[in-house]
């Protein structure tokens, strides 16, 4: 082999004075970094992914992990990553597979947007004292309301209202399928959203029967592979989401590798054991925007118009007119997934190079729908890289009704963003189907952690709104006057419709 090996990504070392030789690192590492030989724990650093499972389980803080222990000659163009990718492909001739969200060091617009607060001229509101209205309704709203007078002289609503989802907080959990993640992860999140009065997505993996008790808080997904989709599944969901695209890999489908298709996954997806679960790039019954209308209506017709239907698209260059087309169909909400959205597995070139930032997409979709006079009729759900309550508040101020979180919820379950989700070895029991690993995640504890996160963000959102003198989420939505851009260029400020700091 003329290429030789590339330097290990991480260097693992054990402080032998601290180590009590308990062997927890060996038990916990599913990647096989540690092994015992005689009375010594040996280390194979090359296998380390920096998932930090060993570090978090070591009772003596004896383990340290260093990233990039060996330097290449530094070069601004031929970075370590570009060199290693070339070596990898020179060896294999294949597509490089990666996990989690975009890993390039590109500017983050959220971090260059600043929120407003009241001083003197208008009073801020103390959420401890005053009620803060965070309740959000997702779904179609009527253009206008009609009333009629009854015989007894009462006034009654004449307009027939479309079904909506009622959220106690504008934070939902996005679609991560059973298959990509474990049942215990889904159960943890399902218990959490039920407790928090919000919703989560099933992903394109069907609905496992253990999730039936939480079905009123589940949004069922219909994607191009139609896995697990039948009339029972559609009727169980609180809402139905058609997945057209995903921020991590716009324009392509998904392949759940056969290794992850065990008996339970095969039963829930209704596919044979061990076969690849292939979701084609397009839906083969949708080749146009007219066909999309037909799929939406087929789902509504099947469920007797009792469920809201969402359409999820990846944020791409022409996201605004695409969303406007969706708004004109019978869809109740459009979900926009930005280019930082996570995934269990995506070709690296797609994850890192295709799509646009969610911040710009929210602003341009909201603007387009307002220009066309339909913004009030359809909800916007934003996702893809929402890290904190600040990102949440900024998303709503840019024009979203609610957000989906994904990676943040997984971090609340233990994920350390090592990005090896596609290997079925997740030592935190999240992105794996291996029973011994899955059992490490206790759904009760997981539910408490995810629910704590949602509560924490909800409290912070109330405080941010109160400080800005806003007591209702509707007054924050699309309120770009409460944002200022810091070190953003003029073109971006124009797209965001936000003034620069100081203006």
């Amino acid at each position: 082999m003329t290429l030789g090996s590339v330097p290990p990504k991480f260097k693992v070392s054990i402080d032998r004075d601290q180590c009590m030789d308990c062997g927890r690192c060996i038990e916990n590492c599913s990647y096989g970094v540690y092994r015992r030989e005689g009375d010594k724990i040996l280390i194979e650093s090359r296998k380390c992914t920096a998932c930090l499972r060993c570090v978090s389980m070591c009772p003596r803080d004896a383990i340290s992990i260093t990233e990039k222990p060996i330097d290449y000659r530094s070069h601004p163009l031929w970075t370590r990553e570009t060199r290693e990718d070339i070596i990898n492909q020179a060896r294999s001739g294949k597509i490089i597979l990666s996990g989690m969200g975009n890993a390039r060091d590109l500017p983050i617009i959220y971090d260059r947007l600043l929120l407003d607060a009241c001083q003197v001229t208008n009073p801020s509101i103390d959420p401890l004292r005053e009620p803060m209205e965070l309740r959000t309704y997702i779904g179609k709203k009527p253009k206008q309301l009609k009333f009629r007078k009854t015989e007894s002289g009462d006034i009654e609503l004449d307009t027939k209202l479309a079904p909506n989802l009622k959220l106690d907080t504008p934070i939902m959990i996005g679609h991560m399928s059973f298959g990509a993640i474990s049942l215990n992860s889904q159960l943890s999140m399902a218990k959490a959203v039920k407790e928090a009065g919000t919703f989560m997505g099933t992903g394109e993996g069907g609905l496992h029967k253990e999730l039936y008790p939480y079905q009123d808080n589940m949004i069922v997904q219909v994607a191009s592979g139609r896995f697990g989709v039948n009339i029972d599944y559609l009727e169980r969901g609180a809402a139905i989401e058609i997945k057209i695209g995903q921020g991590a890999k716009p324009g392509i489908g998904g392949h759940l590798p056969g290794e992850k298709v065990n008996e339970e996954v095969s039963k829930t997806r209704m596919i044979p054991l061990g076969s690849d679960a292939i979701s084609p790039a397009p839906h083969h019954d949708i080749y146009s925007i007219e066909d999309l209308v037909q799929l939406i209506r087929s789902l509504k017709e099947a469920t007797e118009w009792k469920k809201p239907v969402f359409v999820k698209i990846a944020a791409v260059h022409n996201v605004a007119p695409i969303a406007a087309g969706i708004a004109r169909s019978s869809a109740d909400a459009v979900v926009i997934d930005g280019f930082r959205g996570g995934t269990g597995a995506a070709p690296k070139v797609f994850r890192d190079h295709v799509g646009i930032p969610i911040e710009a997409a929210i602003a341009s979709v909201d603007q387009k729908l307002r220009d066309q006079g339909v913004r009030n009729e359809i909800s916007i759900i934003a996702s893809g890289g929402i890290r904190s309550s600040a990102d949440l508040a900024k998303s709503i101020a840019l024009g979203a009704d609610a957000v989906y979180i994904g990676t943040a919820a997984l971090i609340a379950l233990g994920c350390r963003v090592c990005g090896n989700c596609y290997r079925n070895l997740c030592p935190w029991g999240i992105a794996t189907q291996r029973p011994d690993l899955v059992s490490r995640l206790d759904p009760e504890a997981g539910a408490a952690q995810v629910s704590n996160l949602i509560h924490g963000w909800t409290l912070e959102l109330s405080e941010l709104m109160g400080a800005a003198g806003i007591n209702s989420i509707e007054s924050l939505r699309g309120n770009r006057d409460r944002l200022r851009g810091y070190m953003l260029d003029e073109g971006m400020l124009k797209i965001l419709d936000v003034l620069p700091a100081g203006a």
């Binding site: 294949k94 490089i96 009339i231 044979p272 292939i278 083969h284 099947a302």
Partner: protein
């Protein structure tokens, strides 16, 4: 047998489906729909064992998500009849458009004449209780059984010199089988599809389906009960396994 007759003339599909559901709820065993002209979604998500006779031309997505009923169409059908269908049967006394039996998971779709592009695309199966069957009396256009993950597509080519003359048969197929009357030229096969010899055991397996098809359309099954077929299946159940390398 309790029969309900519905005149669908100038009726939108939603009230039409509501009438069908109401009739099923009231115990109808047969529903006759007259003057059907382009109404989509007939029988969409419908359960039960009702038999629906459709006189006219139904619109797209006939029997979508359907789980149990039988629909007999006295006419042609638009695109995607049997889309994501679960159980039951569609019998079409004519031709049908594109994406027939798209993502179908169970039940049977019998088409007397021809179908358009992408017939049986992404059909899938789970164990034995859910195994979809699509039988086409005439011929089909390109991408027949594309991405197929399970089930059976059978093309009889009745009245044709060759049952299939369009390309891309079974491209991306990773489960199930496509059986075509007579020989199939190699260049018609899609990527990942492979020809297999059609054996006596295969014939025994599909004979009940051939008989059932012939019974619906009044053909003599004896004409079709021989081994003059080509069986096309997947070259691998993991067509993408060797496409990727880890980061």
């Amino acid at each position: 047998m309790k029969t309900v007759r519905i005149d669908a003339k100038c009726m939108h599909y939603t009230p039409l489906n509501q009438k069908i559901r109401a009739a099923v709820a009231e115990g109808a065993e047969e529903i006759i729909l007259d003057n059907v002209l382009g109404q989509r979604f007939i029988g969409d998500g419908l359960r039960g064992n009702v038999r629906i006779i459709i006189n006219g031309v139904p619109g797209g997505d006939l029997g979508m998500f359907m789980s149990g009923p039988t629909c007999i169409v006295n006419g042609n059908a638009e695109h995607a009849p049997g889309n994501t269908m679960d159980r039951g049967m569609l019998v079409i006394h004519g031709s049908a458009g594109d994406a027939v039996a798209h993502s179908m998971r169970g039940g049977k779709v019998f088409i007397k004449n021809n179908i358009g592009y992408r017939g049986g695309i992404h059909m899938k199966q789970y164990e034995v209780e859910a195994r979809p069957v699509l039988v086409v009396g005439g011929t089909a256009h390109s991408f027949l059984g594309e991405y197929m993950a399970g089930g059976l597509v059978l093309v009889l080519g009745i009245g044709k010199e060759k049952a299939m003359t369009d390309r891309g048969i079974g491209s991306g197929i990773h489960g199930g089988e496509i059986i075509i009357r007579g020989d199939v030229d190699d260049y018609l096969l899609g990527v990942g599809a492979k020809k297999f010899k059609f054996t006596e055991a295969d014939l025994e397996r599909i004979a009940p389906i051939i008989k059932s098809f012939c019974e619906q359309f009044g053909y003599d099954p004896a004409e079709f009960l021989d081994t003059n077929y080509t069986r096309i299946g997947p070259a691998s159940s993991r067509p993408f396994a060797s496409k990727y390398v880890w980061e």
